[in-house]
C-alpha cells in the first residue's frame, strides 16, 4: 500500500477549446501553480462530452474526471454547455446512487480569461480526490486499475 | 469430369491447441491501392517455417494482439515458399490495425483453414480466371501455382477488372502475366482516366466479349458479390455448366474451424466446408444467404 502522502490522484480533464482550454493555457503562461496530475483532452464544446467518456475514464482507472466549459450564456455554440450541464448532473447523481464517490465527477465553468480559476479548480478537485482516495471501482483481480 | 465434392480435404495442422496463433513477422508491405496492402509474412519459429504447407484458396486467421482476429485468404502461391502473403482492404477494426503496422511487426497466424481450390481436378483443363478488385487475392495464389506448373494445364485466360486504374491490385503480377505468352491476360476498368489507354468495361461484359470456350474449361471467379452475381449468368451463356464454375465466398468468421457458428449457409460452414464452392453447390444451397 502506497503512503497517502506520495499518492497523487490522476485526473482527466475534458476542456472546451473555446474557453476552459484557453483558461488552462493562460494558467500555464501566467505561471499559476496547480497540481500537475491532470491530463487534458481538448473537446470542441463541453456539450461534446458523452457520459460514456466519463465512465470510460473511470473504467480505465482515472481517479476523477473534470468537465469544463464556458459559463452559461457564453457557449460558442449557444447551448452546448447547458446540455452538458444536464448530462453531468444526471451522471453525477446517478453514479452517486450506485456508490461512486461524487468527488470523482467534477465540472466547472472556466472562461479563457480565468487562468486563476482554472488553477484553483484543479487544486481543489485534486484535494477532494486525495480525500476520496484511489479509484478502485473497476479494479479487477488481475490488472488492478490501469490509467496510463 | 464434373467437380463435385470439394469439401473436407487434407489439411496441415500444427500441433497443440488449435486456437493458439503462431507468431509471424511482417517482412514487407506493398501498397497496392489506397486502402489495400499486401503483407509478406513469415513464421518466427524455424521449424514451422519449414513444415508449414497450404493450398491455394485456403485462408488463415490473423491476429493483431489486443485488437482481435480476422480471416483472410493466403494470396501467395504454395509453390513460392520463402514467405507467404495476404492482401487486405481497410474496412474494419482488425484491418485498420493491420494497416497501422510496419515491417518487423509481429502478428498472430493460425491456419491454414478451409478446403482450397481442387488443384488435382483442374489438371489438363483450360482455366478461365475472372477477378475483380481485391478479389484477385485468392485467384493470384492459384494463378502462380498453375503458372509454376504450366505444362499440367491447357489454355489460361485471366480477366481482371477494377473500378478505376488506381484500384488495380497486384500491378506487378498483371505486368508479368501480360508479358507471359502462355497467358491471355485481359485487364479492364469500369471507368478510365487520362493515363488509361486500356480496356474500359465491367468485368462480366468484358468476359462476354472475350468469350472463352467452355469446352474442357473451368472458370474460377472471385470479386465483389455484385460482380460474382453478374458473372455467373455470362458463363452460363458461354456454355459453362454449374460444375465448371468455382468461386470462393466470404462471411463473417471468428473461429475459422466450424465451431463459432456464424458463417453457415444452410448446413454448410464457409470456414469448414468452403470457402471454395462450385456454382452447382451454391445453387443447391438451402439458404439464399450468401
Amino acid at each position: 500500500m502506497k503512503q497517502e502522502s506520495e499518492w497523487k490522484p490522476r485526473l482527466l480533464g475534458f476542456l472546451c477549446k473555446w474557453c476552459s482550454y484557453a483558461g488552462a493555457d493562460l494558467a500555464g503562461t501566467s505561471r499559476r501553480k496547480y497540481p500537475a496530475n491532470i491530463r487534458i483532452i481538448k473537446v470542441p464544446c463541453s456539450g461534446r462530452v458523452d457520459p460514456l467518456f466519463i465512465l470510460k475514464a473511470l473504467r480505465l482507472g482515472f481517479d476523477g474526471v473534470l468537465v469544463s466549459g464556458c459559463h452559461p450564456g457564453e457557449c460558442h455554440y449557444q447551448t452546448g454547455n447547458y446540455r452538458a450541464r444536464r448530462r453531468i448532473a444526471l451522471t453525477k447523481k446517478f453514479l452517486e446512487y450506485m456508490g461512486v464517490e461524487p468527488e470523482r465527477i467534477q465540472a466547472s465553468w472556466v472562461s479563457a480569461s480565468e487562468g486563476g480559476k482554472f488553477a484553483e479548480v484543479v487544486t481543489e478537485v485534486t484535494r477532494e480526490l486525495k480525500e476520496a482516495g484511489p479509484n478502485q471501482l473497476f479494479a479487477d483481480e488481475r490488472h488492478g486499475t490501469e490509467a496510463t | 469430369m464434373a467437380i463435385t465434392d470439394i469439401s473436407h480435404r487434407k489439411r496441415f495442422l500444427a500441433q497443440g491447441n488449435v486456437y493458439l496463433p503462431h507468431i509471424v513477422v511482417i517482412e514487407k508491405i506493398i501498397e497496392e491501392t489506397s486502402g489495400v496492402r499486401t503483407f509478406h509474412i513469415n513464421f518466427k519459429d524455424d521449424k514451422l517455417r519449414e513444415e508449414f504447407t497450404f493450398e491455394s484458396g485456403q485462408f488463415g486467421e490473423y491476429s493483431v494482439f489486443g485488437v482481435g482476429e480476422a480471416p483472410f485468404c493466403i494470396s501467395s502461391s504454395p509453390t513460392r515458399r520463402d514467405h507467404f502473403e495476404f492482401a487486405i482492404q481497410q474496412v474494419g477494426k482488425v484491418t485498420n490495425a493491420l494497416h497501422r503496422l510496419g515491417v518487423g511487426a509481429e502478428i498472430g497466424f493460425r491456419g491454414p483453414y478451409g478446403n482450397g481450390f481442387p488443384l488435382d481436378l483442374l489438371e489438363g483443363k483450360n482455366l478461365v480466371f475472372v477477378g475483380g478488385g481485391i478479389g484477385l487475392a485468392p485467384l493470384r495464389s492459384l494463378i502462380w501455382n498453375v503458372l509454376d506448373n504450366r505444362d499440367k494445364y491447357q489454355r489460361i485466360d485471366i480477366i481482371y477488372g477494377a473500378r478505376s486504374p488506381s484500384d488495380l491490385c497486384f500491378r506487378y503480377d498483371l505486368d508479368a502475366w501480360d508479358k507471359d505468352k502462355a497467358v491471355n491476360m485481359v485487364i479492364t476498368v469500369d471507368k478510365g482516366d487520362e493515363s488509361w489507354s486500356g480496356r474500359v468495361g465491367l468485368v462480366p461484359h468484358v468476359l462476354e466479349q472475350v468469350a472463352p470456350a467452355a469446352d474442357n474449361a473451368v472458370a474460377i471467379v472471385c470479386g465483389p458479390p455484385i460482380m460474382i452475381r453478374f458473372t455467373f449468368p455470362v458463363l452460363v451463356k458461354l456454355g459453362f455448366t454449374p460444375e465448371q464454375m468455382l468461386t470462393t465466398l466470404e462471411k463473417r468468421m471468428k473461429c475459422g474451424i466450424g465451431k463459432c457458428g456464424r458463417c453457415n449457409i444452410g448446413n454448410l460452414y464457409v470456414c469448414r466446408d468452403g470457402p471454395v464452392f462450385t456454382y452447382a453447390q451454391i445453387n443447391s444451397f438451402i439458404s439464399s444467404e450468401y
Partner: protein, 341 residues
C-alpha cells in the same frame, strides 16, 4: 439391475463423501436464479425446490466467458501463455437428462474436424450424476425428442426419486465404479425397483407439450424461403439472446481481445444468432432481417444439425419457452409449419 439406494436425509453425507474426490456442483440459487454451483458442504435444500436450472449446466463446459490465452507484450514481441487446465475432477450432481443429452450434442461440434481443447478437457474431467424428473415443467417437451424425464443415455449415474429415497443406477463404467467405492449405500429391494419403474412411467406422461418431429427436416426445407411465414413467426421476437444463450445445445461464441498496458487476454464468450451484429460484415449482413435470424435458429436445430450430425440439436428442456420475454414458443412454430406445396 445394478442399483443401490440412498435415503434423502443422507444426501449430505453422500455429497461430502464425493467431495473428497471431486469438486461437487449442485443446484443452487443466486438471488432466485437457479444454476449449478459449487456445493457449500452442507446445503441440500435444493431437494425441495429443484426442477431445473435457469443457467444450463453447459456453463461448466462452455463458460459464458473464458480466457483462451494470455499474451505478454515485450517491446514488439509477444509471448503467449495458455491457461492452466483445471486438473481437479468434478462431479455435477442432479443434472437433468435433457441437459446431459445436450452435452452429447455439443460434443459433436466440438469434436468435429478440429478438436476444441477447452470444451473437451472440461468434458473429460467431469462425472455426470443424473436425476430423473418427477415434476416436469409445462414447457418441457423432451418426450417429443426421443428422450424422457428418466433418460439415462448421457449420464454416468442416474438417480430416481422413489419417495424417501433415491434409487441409484450405475450407467457408465465410471459411474458403476463410483457406486462401488461409495460407502453407505443400501441395497435395493424388488419393491424399490418396481417403484422406480412406476415413477419413470408416471413422469413420462407428465410431459404434455408435444412437437411433431416426423419429417421435420424436409418440412422446414420446403418452407425455407417462405418469407411470409417466417415474418409472421418472428414478428414478436425482440432479438434478445435469452433463448440461445440459455439453450443447453447452443454453442455459438465470439472471440475478442483485450490489451491493458503490456498484458493481454483473448477471450471467448457466448454469442447469439439472434443478434444482427452476429453475421454483420463491413459491407453487408446476410441476416439483417429478423425473420432470417429466427429462421436460422429454428433450422439450425431442426434441419442443419440433423443434416450434419444426424441428431436434432434440441433436447426439449423448454428453457427458450419458459424464459422468453414475449412467450415466443418454438413448439408452436414447429407445429404450425406450412404444409408442403
Amino acid at each position: 439391475m445394478d442399483s443401490k439406494k440412498v435415503n434423502k436425509k443422507d444426501i449430505g453425507k453422500l455429497l461430502s463423501q464425493w467431495s473428497k474426490e471431486f469438486t461437487v456442483f449442485v443446484p443452487s440459487k443466486e438471488n432466485g436464479v437457479a444454476m449449478m454451483a459449487g456445493w457449500d458442504g452442507t446445503d441440500t435444500s435444493f431437494l425441495d425446490w429443484y426442477r431445473n436450472t435457469v443457467i444450463p449446466p453447459k456453463e461448466h463446459f462452455l463458460p459464458p466467458m473464458e480466457e483462451m490465452f494470455r499474451f505478454q507484450k515485450d517491446k514488439g514481441s509477444y509471448q503467449l501463455e495458455q491457461p492452466a487446465s483445471d486438473g481437479q475432477k468434478q462431479l455435477i450432481f442432479a443434472i437433468r437428462p435433457c441437459d446431459a443429452n445436450a452435452l452429447a450434442i455439443l460434443d459433436m461440434t466440438f469434436k468435429d474436424a478440429y478438436e476444441d481443447p477447452y470444451y473437451l478437457s472440461r468434458r473429460k474431467n467431469k462425472l455426470l450424476v443424473g436425476l430423473g424428473c418427477i415434476n416436469p415443467y409445462d414447457s418441457c417437451f423432451c418426450t417429443s425428442l426421443g428422450s424422457s424425464p428418466s433418460d439415462v443415455a448421457n449420464v454416468d449415474l442416474m438417480l430416481t426419486d422413489i419417495g424417501d429415497e433415491f434409487l441409484i443406477e450405475g450407467i457408465t463404467d465410471a459411474g458403476k465404479e463410483l457406486i462401488a467405492r461409495t460407502s453407505g449405500l443400501e441395497e435395493t429391494t424388488e419393491a424399490d425397483d418396481a417403484r422406480a419403474k412406476e415413477v419413470k412411467e408416471a413422469s413420462y406422461h407428465k410431459v404434455t407439450r408435444r412437437i411433431d418431429t416426423g419429417d421435420i427436416g424436409s418440412k422446414l426445407l420446403s418452407c425455407f424461403e417462405d418469407e411470409d411465414y417466417w415474418g409472421k413467426v418472428a414478428a414478436k421476437c425482440i432479438s434478445c439472446g435469452i433463448c440461445t444463450l440459455l439453450c443447453p445445445t447452443c454453442y455459438c461464441f465470439d472471440i475478442s481481445d483485450e490489451l491493458v498496458k503490456q498484458q493481454g487476454t483473448r477471450f471467448r464468450c457466448w454469442d447469439s444468432c439472434a443478434f444482427p451484429i452476429y453475421t454483420k460484415m463491413p459491407m453487408e449482413n446476410p441476416r439483417e432481417e429478423k425473420w432470417r435470424r429466427v429462421r436460422q435458429k429454428v433450422c439450425h436445430k431442426y434441419e442443419f444439425y440433423p443434416m450434419n450430425f444426424g441428431v436434432i440439436a434440441c433436447t426439449g428442456c423448454g428453457r427458450c419457452i419458459r424464459l422468453c420475454p414475449v412467450n415466443w414458443d418454438i413448439s408452436q412454430t414447429l407445429n404450425s409449419l406450412p404444409a408442403k406445396t
